[in-house]
Amino acid sequence: MGKTLAEKILSAKSGTEVHAGDIIIVPLDLVFVQDSTGPLTLRQLKESGLDTIHNPKRTILFIDHSVPSPARELANDHMFLRSFAEEKGVILSDIGEGICHQLVAESFASPGDVIVGADSHTVTAGALGALATGMGSTDVAIAIALGKTWLRVPETIKVVVHGRFAKGVYAKDLILHLIGQMGADGATYKALEFGGETVTMMTMSERLTVANMVVEAGAKAGLFPSDSITRSYLASQGRGKQYIALQPDDDATYESMIEIDATQLEPTVSKPHTVDNVALAKELKGVRVDQVFIGTCTNGRLDDLGIAATILEGRRRHPHTRLIVAPASKKVLLAAEAAGYIKILVESGASIVPPGCAACLGAHQGVLGDGETCVSTANRNFKGRMGNPAGFIYLASPATAAATAICGEITDPREVW
């Protein structure tokens, strides 16, 4: 009986032949929290009475959501995480390093790994062929102590993508289109597995963008095969030895199959207040935009900043449109600086904020005013997400975001090229 990627990874890790529907105990290769879920996780860990850290070298506390701290309570939460890391010898990733999911991709996740994180976007590491999923603080507390968790092996929906993206169309448009088609609960409890010749051509950054957002369709995991792209990416991060090839079996059983013709995709936008409420950018011309935010675990990587810089070079943001840029990690910031992107973005009127989650989650660094509209490259546009229930959030690619910053209204990037 052939296996999907999820079944292959979970069979190998659990040491038994598992198939969709099985409930299993699986050892974990990496467990992490971030500063908005971590303090509760550590309190639950203490409450459990399990005074053990299964593997401190594979347990990470990321301080990335509210960095640097905008409030005394959060500063105290950060102190708690730092003192725990020092006491127990787990890894601390402090302010300035970047977003947990980006750092997990750069430095920790490998093909075939099983990863849990106290953050829903833990699915991002599926881009590297890791079965990575988000859980709450209590599950992750127990995972830190025991080094294992229970899982139901998910059914898999196969997404096959054919053809090349047209100019101005990106991985973000693909995943927004897919979520629009499936709905925000179209993959609940299931895995999405990506294949087709478009996928074999997608860069690791593009794969990370797609995997990142599968949770917006409710998915437990979003899996990419591990192939030559994965091998080159790992090598570029100094982790070439961690490469293993990983492909689903030809006779794997899928719950359903979705085929997408990438050549037919156009710049796509999620409208307020749900991610599956999609439209084409060109249909939204005339929507005035007060703020553009480029960054996050979805689209804050070097190529994302590069696309924005290419569009904004020699141009200025619209006078009524603020532009905020947050590199996803220190590495991204340094590379963007070296490539000249930061200079271009700053000259075009951007505010560069430190590597981290920034304005995405509504705590700081770009909270919207009443009635204001933001075009964001993030992954969520729920009412109140950016700190104000009276704000309106549209999700888009970095290209659409940059074009919008120039024009002051939602703009198809093909118009400004």
Binding site: D22, I23, L40, G362
Partner: protein, 173 residues
């Protein structure tokens, strides 16, 4: 037996609606955070809800962020169970892990303010106001056992690990 009145919400209530990100600074102060539960959907909810009451929602309740603070504030306000047509994966696990029952049922048959009676063992929901009876879907055995112990922390205190036998809990289709 659980008894209380229904607080009805629609579809797609995210964990951002339950505990908004702008209140991130109260994540380590749950009593303060609880005062703001659902305030962007129903500003009076935290004041009106009484011990034993039920959250009754539509599709995909609890989608989005993994923040466990969402089911925690619901429980802290005295809510005895969440009833929904469907519920997002992480919220489902989180709620069970803290001992908050989540029951999947046809919530179209419940209106805001209806008086409900729930028998968890028998799998029955009685809408006393409308005089109709509903059933709810069975959850996986491992989750039932965690819920029976009052959540994952008491479960782990008792068993020290997961007492799931590999292959014993298959619900393959």
């Amino acid at each position: 037996m659980l008894r209380g009145k229904a607080f009805k919400f629609g579809d797609s209530i995210s964990t951002d609606h339950i505990v908004p990100g702008r209140l991130l600074r109260f994540r380590s102060n749950l009593p303060e955070l609880a005062k703001h539960a659902f305030e962007d959907v129903d500003p009076e909810f935290a004041k009106r809800v009484a011990s034993g009451d039920f959250i009754v929602a539509g599709e995909n309740f609890g989608l989005g962020s993994s923040r466990e603070h969402a089911p925690l504030v619901i429980k802290m306000l005295g809510v005895s169970a969440v009833l929904a047509k469907s519920v997002a994966r992480i919220f489902f696990r989180n709620a069970i892990n803290i001992g908050l029952p989540v029951l999947i049922c046809d919530t179209d048959k419940i209106d805001d303010g209806d008086k409900l009676e729930v028998n968890l063992k028998a799998g029955e929901i009685k809408n006393l106001t409308k005089k109709v009876q509903l059933s709810f879907s069975k959850m996986p055995g491992v989750m039932l056992r965690i819920l029976d112990e009052g959540g994952l922390i008491p479960y782990i205190k008792k068993y020290k690990s997961f007492n799931v036998k590999p292959g014993a809990n298959s619900n393959r289709r």
